[in-house]
């Protein structure tokens, strides 16, 4: 009955099909990401009320928290893609895993920088070695390690498989980052938005946060589409479908 899903996925994993699909998806994703991002920024910086304790300084949350979510989410996607790449050797999975790493690294970097700016205003320090901050820094190093390993091989596919291994092992850090504030006494506060149980944030503040979350997800989709398309063209440069695209470009 529902075997059209695996069939469709199987078809999508073929490079030319994915190339076309990503080409169609990308402009929509980027347009929606920019639109929602602007709405979220307006909602967060202008409409949302100041916090009772932190005043206007808390507004950096609208960048910090969505970036932090993305740093973990992208690592999850990269880990799953790496697993598929290692076991089934699907070319698209290798491409998705390797194209995700720089985007995830960027979001992790933004998280650390905005957290630092927030920390110096509220806590009174730029950096401290508590469990949440340290594990997030380890996440950045894992991303950078995956990128470096990928590029240290002459053969792109060999590099992708080796880096996929590191990406897969590093996935144990994702729950550690998330639960660090529960498992240990930390300077960093606990989670505000909870999937189970009530969130501890006013409704006027939560909608820009969730809108920004959707916007960052869409940005990731758009960015992944661009990077995967470029990588697929490079990997399949000798194939007929790439030659076809090249010839159309020249003629057009």
């Amino acid at each position: 009955m529902a075997n059209w899903i695996p069939l469709w996925l199987h078809k999508l994993s073929s490079p030319p099909v994915f190339y076309r699909f990503a080409g169609v998806l990308r402009p929509w994703a980027i347009a929606l990401a920019v639109l929602l991002g602007l709405v979220a920024l307006y909602g967060g910086l202008v409409l949302a009320p100041p916090d009772y304790q932190q005043g206007d300084d808390y507004r950096i949350i609208f960048i910090h928290v969505p970036s932090a979510w993305m740093s973990l989410f992208i690592y999850g996607v990269m880990g799953v893609a790496a697993f598929i790449a290692l076991v089934w050797r699907i070319k698209l999975a290798e491409v998705v895993a390797m194209a995700s790493a720089p985007i995830g690294a960027a979001f992790t970097f933004i998280t650390l920088v905005t957290g630092s700016l927030w920390g110096v205003r509220m806590w009174g320090t730029w950096w401290t070695w508590d469990a949440r901050l340290t594990s997030e820094l380890v996440l950045l190093f894992l991303y950078l390690g995956v990128i470096a390993l990928y590029h240290s091989f002459e053969d792109r596919r060999q590099g992708a498989r080796t880096a996929a291994f590191l990406a897969l092992i590093g996935i144990v850090n994702v729950p550690i980052v998330h639960f660090s504030v529960v498992w240990w006494n930390t300077l960093h506060q606990g989670s505000t938005i909870k999937l189970l149980g009530p969130s501890t944030i006013a409704p006027g503040m939560v909608w820009p946060l969730l809108t920004m979350m959707v916007a960052t997800k869409l940005y990731y989709v758009a960015s992944l589409c661009s990077r995967a398309r470029a990588d697929l063209l490079a990997l399949e440069s000798g194939k007929d479908w790439v030659r076809q695209i090249a010839e159309n470009e020249v003629r057009g």
């Binding site: 100041p50 290692l86 076991v87 006494n185 300077l187 606990g190 989670s191 503040m205």
Partner: protein, 156 residues
């Protein structure tokens, strides 16, 4: 699934399980000694005795803040659910430092007093407008909202 993939799947899952078990054991082991801070009752129970310098965390007791007239010297009492500890500090305090606020002080014991070299303010994960907080405080009629919101970590 062909035998090659079957074998690869087994190897990858075995390695993944090994890594997860290893890190779970590390996390479990660190649970004992990777705590960022000690609470006053933990210090009084002697948990921090093996450290010369450590972090003390808790809430600033209402009415305990005393500032020196001609210097930056300030003394206050840090409390948790079961204990209290006098703290002495000479320096600039963060903006969020106030009564009933969670703070983390780095320093060492000097007799029964804790002499801090750095004081950080900790804020909780609750965000709300000031008007809502005032309304809630009124509704609670005398019950301190800060205490309710800050109790998450002090319980640990």
């Amino acid at each position: 699934m062909n035998p090659t993939r079957q074998r690869r799947l087994t190897i990858v899952i075995a390695i993944l399980v090994a890594v997860i078990v290893a890190s779970a054991l590390v996390v479990y082991a660190l649970q004992q000694n990777m705590n960022y801070l000690f609470t006053p009752s933990q210090v009084q129970a002697g948990d921090a005795a093996s450290y010369k310098t450590f972090r003390l965390g808790g809430m600033v007791k209402a009415g305990s803040i005393q500032r020196g007239g001609d210097s930056l010297k300030v003394t206050f009492t840090v409390v948790d659910a079961a204990g209290a500890m006098p703290v002495e500090y000479n320096g600039i305090l963060p903006d969020l430092f106030r009564e009933n606020q969670s703070v983390i002080a780095t320093g060492h014991m000097d007799g029964a007093r804790f002499v801090a070299t750095e004081v950080l303010a900790k804020h909780d994960e609750t965000y709300m407008p000031k008007e809502l907080k005032d309304a809630m405080a009124k509704a609670h009629a005398g019950k301190r909202i800060d205490e309710a919101a800050n109790q998450d970590k002090q319980q640990l």
